[in-house]
């Protein structure tokens, strides 16, 4: 019965159809296969080559065929809609290309380098064109500088975020909010130049790990403030009010109720902040000194770090150095990705419901 009604609806109103014609569902995959085949034929006949060119050309032909057939069957509006949808999907696929290719390239070039020797030796007395040597000194530097940066940044960032959410309402809070956002966009090399001016030109200290950590602090604080602020805003007011009602002072409420409630999110933000600054190269270039030897003391003498090591080795002409650069890049990416994944995991496991 229902079928009958639909059919009568289709042909009612003097024989005119009320439902517009559409391409059958199988049309899209068919067209995709067709365009792949056409381009393959073209590649077989004409002197073209390259997998990248094949994919791009096939996609192009597919878009053309799909839009044309949709235009013929469904009309202009639906053709445009299909065209736009394909473009939107294509944008996402295009974004995946660099991600996949970076990960694949770093893995394939770097995994051969990462062995026990590479991870436990420095570059001391290793000639540029010799194989061997390692990134131990760089990892020590990166971890120590990351630690110092976190020790300075986290308390400051937490206090600023608490001020903005719990106390701030006036002009100071508005100004700070604005400049925290602006600070996230400060180029890292400018932060490096600032610390260079103060620490080395004016105070007269030498290059070391500590000033590098100071420059990284300038880059890390705004990101942690932003994420912490978002987390503190999520804490329900009822919790604060219940605490006040019990006569708990505001500062203890913040320390014992608000921050613990938001802690998982805060930790996530902190880890993402560390992951971001640990890969920074530009400020280290100015401040860290750079050395081939192991230096456990961030306060005196030049130190190394993974990003600097990569930059240094990558700038040399011999393949042995380039290999080391890829190995160090893999180590750095692993550290950053592990921090990232751990941050997401913390966020997921400890989510307040």
């Amino acid at each position: 019965m229902a079928l009958l009604q639909i059919n009568s609806a289709r042909t009612s109103a003097g024989g005119a159809t009320l439902v517009s014609r559409t391409l059958p569902r199988s049309a899209v995959p068919l067209l995709a296969v067709l365009s792949c085949g056409l381009v393959a034929l073209l590649f077989a006949v004409a002197p073209f080559g390259g997998i990248g060119g094949y994919v791009v050309l096939s996609g192009f032909v597919f878009v053309l065929l799909q839009t044309a057939s949709s235009f013929a069957v469904e009309g202009r509006r639906h053709a445009l809609d299909r065209f736009a949808s394909t473009m939107v999907y294509a944008c996402f696929l295009i974004a995946l290309v660099p991600l996949v290719s970076v990960v694949w390239k770093v893995l394939s070039q770097g995994s051969g380098m990462l062995d026990g020797n590479f991870l436990t030796h420095s570059m001391r007395n290793v000639g540029v064109s010799e194989t061997g040597g390692g990134i131990y000194h760089g990892m020590i530097g990166t971890l120590l500088q990351g630690l110092i940066t976190s020790l300075i940044s986290i308390p400051i960032a937490l206090l600023v975020a608490v001020y903005l959410v719990e106390y701030g309402a006036g002009r100071l809070a508005r100004t700070v909010t604005f400049f925290v956002d602006v600070m996230t966009g400060i180029p890292s090399i400018v932060a490096g130049l600032f610390i260079y001016t103060v620490w080395i030109l004016i105070l007269g200290f030498g290059r070391a790990g500590f000033p590098a950590a100071l420059a990284l602090t300038i880059l890390m604080v705004p990101t942690v403030v932003r994420s912490t602020e978002e987390m503190l805003k999520l804490v329900p007011n009822e919790l604060r009010e219940a605490s006040y009602a019990l006569g708990v002072p505001k500062w203890r409420t913040i320390l014992r109720i608000v921050i613990p409630t938001a802690l998982p999110g805060i930790i996530t933000g902190i880890m993402l902040g560390i992951a971001r600054v640990i890969g920074e190269t530009a400020p280290l270039l100015l401040l860290i000194g750079g050395t081939d030897s192991i230096n456990f003391n961030p306060f005196s003498g030049p130190q190394s770090a993974l990003p600097i090591l990569i930059y240094d080795q990558a700038g040399r002409p011999n393949p042995e150095a380039i290999d080391r650069a890829w190995g160090a890049a893999l180590a750095l990416i692993l550290i950053v990705m592990i921090l990232n994944l751990a941050a997401r995991l913390v966020a997921r496991l400890t989510r307040v419901r």
Binding site: A95, L172, F178, T197, P222, Y244, P307
Partner: protein, 331 residues
């Protein structure tokens, strides 16, 4: 929100002190409050400090300079007389960043549309996280990848552009050409690096489009693309503008990736397929090792210019976002 302001701060935070405890503020509260306010002021002091201290070295640098700092192209601050200027640096910074933005903005908006409105709901968060992962790759790794992997792949496209579109000034090239170390390559790598921030900001705004607007468009019989064009994109316009500016700010200040890819020269040229060009940040990274005292001051002066430019771009971006939040007229 507005009718609540008597009881709550504009942030939606807890009630202000005075309304709860009257005037009796405890000592602990006073100390804690000053601590948090002090940290906030410290942050402003640091921003001001960056400007003040960079400026303190810019003045002696400009005094040493024997030519006009803003119109000179070459960079010989340590010769006597000292000759240096930012014209070529400013041009190269602008060219590479605008190139990156032109490439990244349409794709970034497309990604944001995909994640916010096209992808299946269940997958959207995970796919968004995948794009965010791009932001986690350190810039030096992008530089290495760009130089040793992407640039060889780009040679074919560059040669195609150069041979077929050489009559357009941008793509003009001399006969023998390697197509590596060019502004185009630097721009493409920068585009990849700013893609995550552009798509993240756009995505946030697109997700905030009131469901009513979307449903209204669909009820009128709009196709999905028409819904995007009539409801989503107009709502997100200011978000897209500020995303573009934030991306531009990132591209302007990027250092090592550009330093690894570009063959630096102090030319002002439209030809993005020829090796050469330079940027503020790359110049600082590359010249720093050779610089003597005037050289350092000159680099700091160029850093000051970069700081001012990125500060202005970022402030404009934030201002656009803030204005939208106040007058969005949504809901």
């Amino acid at each position: 929100m507005t009718q609540m302001t008597e009881f709550r701060s504009p942030h939606g935070g807890p009630p202000a002190d005075s309304q709860i405890t009257g005037k009796a503020v405890r000592a602990g509260d006073r100390i804690f409050r000053s601590l948090t306010a002090g940290s906030s002021i410290l942050l402003l002091v640091v921003i001001a400090g960056i400007a003040v201290f960079l400026f303190s070295r810019t003045v002696p640098a400009l005094r040493e300079d024997s030519v006009n700092f803003f119109t000179e192209r070459t960079w010989f601050p340590d010769s006597s007389p000292s000759v240096f200027g930012i014209a070529a640096l400013a041009w190269g910074t602008l060219l590479s960043s605008v190139l990156a933005l032109l490439l990244a903005l349409p794709i970034g908006v497309g990604i944001a549309l995909f994640i916010a409105h096209y992808a299946p709901r269940r997958l959207a968060t995970g796919l968004g996280y995948l794009v965010d992962l791009l932001a986690a790759v350190p810039s030096v790794v992008f530089g290495l990848w760009g130089r040793d992997f992407l640039v060889p792949q780009m040679v074919g496209i560059s040669r195609f552009l150069g041979e077929n579109f050489g009559w357009i000034p941008f793509f003009a090239t001399p006969d023998s050409q390697t197509y590596t170390q060019t502004m185009l390559n630097a721009g493409v790598v920068l585009a990849v690096m700013i893609l995550p921030i552009i798509s993240a900001v756009c995505r946030e705004v697109f997700l905030q489009v009131p469901q009513g607007h979307i449903e209204a468009a669909m009820a009128l019989g709009a196709t999905r693309w028409e819904t995007m064009r009539m409801a989503v994109l107009p709502f997100g316009r200011s978000g897209m503008i500020s995303a573009a500016m934030l991306g531009l700010g990132r591209a302007l200040g990027e250092t090592v990736a550009v330093a690894l890819i570009l063959a630096t020269s102090y030319d002002i040229s439209l030809h993005i397929l020829e090796p050469g060009g330079n940027t503020f940040a790359a110049n600082i990274a590359l010249q720093y090792g050779f610089a003597q005292s005037t050289g350092i001051d000159a680099l700091i002066a160029s850093g000051m210019v970069l700081f001012v430019i990125t500060l202005l771009v970022n402030m404009a971006a934030r201002w656009v976002i803030a204005r939208r939040a106040a007058f969005s007229g949504a809901n």
